[in-house]
C-alpha cells in the first residue's frame, strides 16, 4: 500500500470537521460550541492544506503550494478574531443574567457537564471579588 503523505491528513481533516460540527450542534454550553467551531475550522484548514500538498515535487524550491498556505494563515487569524469576539459576547451574556447556554434551547433529559474543579488551573486569576480565592490559597499552602 503506497499511501501519499497528504492522504491521512486530508482524512483527518474530514474527521475533525465532523467532530466539530457535532459539538457545535449537540453541545448546549456556548463555550463548548465555540471550542467545537474552532475544531471544525482546524479540520477545514487541514483538509485544504493536505490537498495543497498533492503533487509536490521533492527537491524543488517550492514544495507545498504557497497560496493555500497563505490563505490558511489568514484563516487562522480571522478565526481567533471571531473567537475572541464570541467569547466576549458569551461572558457579557452571562453577566447580563443569561445562562451558559441559549434560552431558546429545548431542554431534554440528557446529562449535564460536571461542574469541574479546576482551581489548580492557574495561579493568575482575577482580582478577588469575594475572598474565596484567599481561602483557597490558604488551604493550599
Amino acid at each position: 500500500m503506497n499511501l501519499p503523505i497528504w492522504m491521512p491528513y486530508a482524512l483527518c481533516g474530514a474527521g475533525l470537521v465532523g467532530l466539530g460540527l457535532y459539538g457545535l450542534l449537540a453541545r448546549p454550553q456556548l463555550l463548548r460550541r465555540i471550542l467545537a467551531f474552532n475544531i471544525m475550522g482546524a479540520g477545514i484548514f487541514l483538509l485544504f492544506g493536505a490537498l495543497a500538498r498533492r503533487g509536490a515535487v521533492v527537491g524543488a524550491i517550492v514544495d507545498a503550494d504557497p497560496v493555500p498556505q497563505a490563505m490558511i494563515i489568514t484563516g487562522i487569524v480571522v478565526a481567533i478574531s471571531a473567537t475572541a469576539l464570541a467569547l466576549g459576547l458569551i461572558v457579557a451574556h452571562a453577566r447580563a443574567g443569561g445562562g451558559e447556554g441559549l434560552p431558546g434551547d429545548t431542554p431534554g433529559v440528557g446529562e449535564r457537564d460536571e461542574p469541574g474543579a479546576d482551581e489548580a488551573a492557574d495561579d493568575s486569576g482575577s482580582a478577588d471579588r469575594d475572598g474565596r480565592r484567599d481561602e483557597r490559597e490558604g488551604t493550599r499552602r
Partner: protein, 312 residues
C-alpha cells in the same frame, strides 16, 4: 509516502479532538483543545507548511487556548445557570448529520482530480516579489488584498470586544486586574519568558523575508510575551485610550492602506514595484507585526472591567 508516524499522528489528533469536543469536563476540554492545536502544528510540519505550523502553534493553540481559559474562568466567577441538556434525539440527529458530512468529504477527497495548484505561477513571479519566502510573497504582495482585509477584521473584532465594556468602566485599563503569588509558576514565567519571546518574535518577523516566519507568527509571539507579563502582574494592562496604544493598533493597517492608495495612484492596486519591493515589504511587515501583536494582546485582555476592588 505516508509513514506509520503520519497515521499515528492523524489518529492521535482525532482522539484528542474527540476528547475536546465530547469530554464532560469543561476545563479538560480546553486543555485537550490546546494539545490538539500543538499536534496540528506537527501535522503542518509533515505537510511541509512550516509557516502554517508556526501560525497554528502560536495562534491556533496558544492564544486561542488562553482566550478559552480566560473566558472559562470569567464564566465560572459569574456562576451562570446551567445550560439545558439537549434532547437525545437532537444528539442522534446531529451525530448522523456530522457523520454524513465527514463521509461526503472523504468521498470528495477520493474523487479529487490531480492538480499542481498555483505553485508554478508563484515560483515564476517570486524573483520580482521582494522576498524569497513564497508564503510571505503571497500574503503581502500577490494577495495583499486578503491580508489588508484580515488586519481590518482583527481591528473590527477588537472594537466589538471593546463595545462590551460597561459605561462606568470606560475608558480604563484593559481587562481585569491580575494578582499572582510572587513565588508562583506564572510570576517566574513572567520574568523568564518575555526576553526570550521578544528575541524569537523579532527574529520571526525579520526571517519571514526569506524563510518561514513573518508578521503574523512573529506578532503573535510578541503578543504572547506581553500577555504573560501582564497576567503575571508584573506590568499593568494598558489603558484603552492610551494614544501610543492606539497608534500601535493602527500603524499596520494604515501603512497598508497608504501603500494601496499610493499604488492605485501609480496605476497598480496593492502591487509593489519590483525594485523597491524588498524595502517596502520589510517596513510593512514590521509595522504589521506591531499592530498584530497589540491587537491580539488586547483581544486576550478583553474590555475594561470594574477595578474598584483594586483601589479599595
Amino acid at each position: 509516502m505516508a509513514t506509520p508516524f503520519d497515521l499515528a499522528l492523524c489518529l492521535l489528533i482525532l482522539v484528542v479532538a474527540a476528547f475536546a469536543v465530547l469530554g464532560r469536563h469543561g476545563f479538560m476540554a480546553v486543555v485537550f483543545f490546546i494539545t490538539c492545536g500543538l499536534l496540528l502544528a506537527l501535522a503542518w510540519l509533515r505537510l511541509d507548511a512550516v509557516d502554517v505550523a508556526l501560525a497554528e502553534a502560536a495562534i491556533g493553540a496558544g492564544l486561542t487556548g488562553v482566550l478559552l481559559l480566560v473566558a472559562r474562568s470569567r464564566l465560572k466567577a459569574l456562576e451562570p445557570g446551567l445550560a439545558p441538556a439537549p434532547h437525545p434525539a437532537l444528539r442522534a440527529t446531529a451525530g448522523v448529520g456530522a457523520a454524513a458530512v465527514t463521509a461526503g468529504l472523504v468521498l470528495a477527497i477520493r474523487a479529487m482530480p490531480e492538480s499542481d495548484g498555483l505553485k508554478a505561477a508563484v515560483a515564476e513571479r517570486l524573483p520580482r516579489a521582494g522576498t524569497d519566502n513564497p508564503v510571505t510573497a503571497v500574503l503581502l504582495n500577490f494577495r495583499g488584498w486578503d491580508t489588508l482585509l484580515e488586519t481590518l477584521v482583527l481591528l473590527a473584532a477588537l472594537l466589538g470586544v471593546w463595545t462590551l465594556a460597561r459605561d462606568d468602566d470606560w475608558p480604563g485599563r484593559a481587562g481585569r486586574a491580575h494578582h499572582t503569588r510572587p513565588d508562583g509558576v506564572l510570576a517566574q514565567f513572567g520574568r523568564v519568558l518575555p526576553p526570550v519571546a521578544l528575541v524569537i518574535g523579532v527574529y520571526l518577523v525579520w526571517v519571514g523575508g526569506h524563510q518561514p516566519g513573518g508578521a503574523f507568527q512573529g506578532g503573535t509571539v510578541l503578543a504572547a510575551a506581553w500577555v504573560v507579563t501582564v497576567m503575571a502582574g508584573l506590568l499593568p494592562a494598558p489603558r484603552v485610550d492610551d494614544p501610543a496604544l492606539r497608534a500601535a493598533l493602527l500603524a499596520g493597517p494604515v501603512a497598508f492602506v497608504v501603500l494601496a492608495v499610493a499604488g492605485l495612484l501609480a496605476g497598480s492596486f496593492l502591487v509593489f514595484p519590483p525594485d523597491r519591493a524588498k524595502l517596502l515589504l520589510l517596513g510593512l511587515e514590521a509595522l504589521l507585526a506591531v499592530s498584530i501583536a497589540a491587537t491580539l494582546a488586547l483581544l486576550v485582555f478583553g474590555a475594561p472591567e470594574d477595578r474598584s476592588e483594586e483601589n479599595a
